[in-house]
Symmetry: C2
Subunit: 141 residues, 2 copies
DNA sequence: GCATTTTTTTAGAATCATTCTAAACTACCG
DNA sequence: CGGTAGTTTAGAATGATTCTAAAAAAATGC
């Protein structure tokens, strides 16, 4: 599936090396949180992460969840995204350029591969483009 | 300029009728705030609005600024937008479909007319499209 | 290994944007 | 006018996030 290219599933062991490679110490807490965020969650918010963590482990503080997502973000493993419809920050595992589809019925957010969307922009003189991101709102059958 | 089609400049008198037409009482505070938001500001945040209001008038409360932008929003005169780079809500005067250009150097946000950007999306089966919005990040010379 | 240094985790306090509340005020309608 | 409904207000409450300072854990050096 094309899902695979968007969310490469790393095993728990790989998480540890992934963190190390990114210059982050693979502490217990970080491994737990990062495994969830990078391998299992879909655009989670901090709230989502904390809820999941609390259900499966004890004694991981909210501050650590924040610390960890910030560490992942600075390391480039994750991307903070925001949308008009919510005041929450979501974290996107997919740090390569891609687009989003928002199901307006369910609120579900789905990654769209960049080669599925073609954008042609005629911008005014002097505007240079670094990045284009598209949000499509709609519904899934 | 194409600016005109995006930000129709209403005179203060028209503001009053505009508010009435939208079913909002044209109170003194609302006229002041709405005139700024609809006629003079560019994608203001509540903070921006409050700062401006405080500089030009006295005794308008923060709560009223919030109340007013919410009223404008429910009336469809304004649109709340959020971007990855900021945790603030911005209000967009232009409620018709359009796109945005974000100058990554200055943080300035510029409206882009929809006919300047062509989008071709090949979505998976069963996804219907209600609206497409494009954000271009780049720099202006 | 053990002592030292550095980084991480933590609980709780602080902050910031936003919403709520309840009382005072204003606008509109007869 | 006088009453009713809508609006404004200050300040309290909320919710997300950041900060703080101390305890814990990990890495480093010998």
């Amino acid at each position: 599936m094309s899902q695979e290219s968007l969310h490469p599933q790393l095993s728990s062991i790989e998480i540890e090396t992934e963190l190390k490679k990114a210059g982050l110490r693979p502490t217990v807490q970080r491994c737990i949180i990062s495994d969830y965020v990078l391998n299992h969650a879909e655009h989670p918010s901090v709230e989502t992460i904390k809820t999941w963590v609390d259900k499966h482990y004890t004694g991981i503080s909210l501050a650590t969840v924040y610390n960890t997502v910030h560490a992942l973000e600075s390391a480039g493993l994750v991307h903070a995204i925001r949308f008009d419809h919510s005041d929450k920050v979501f974290y996107d595992t997919n740090t390569t350029l891609h687009h989003h589809f928002l199901d307006e019925k369910t609120g579900e957010l789905i990654d769209i591969d960049p080669d599925k969307i073609e954008v042609n922009a005629k911008l005014p003189e002097g505007m240079s483009i670094n990045e284009i991101s598209v949000l499509i709102r709609g519904e899934r059958a």
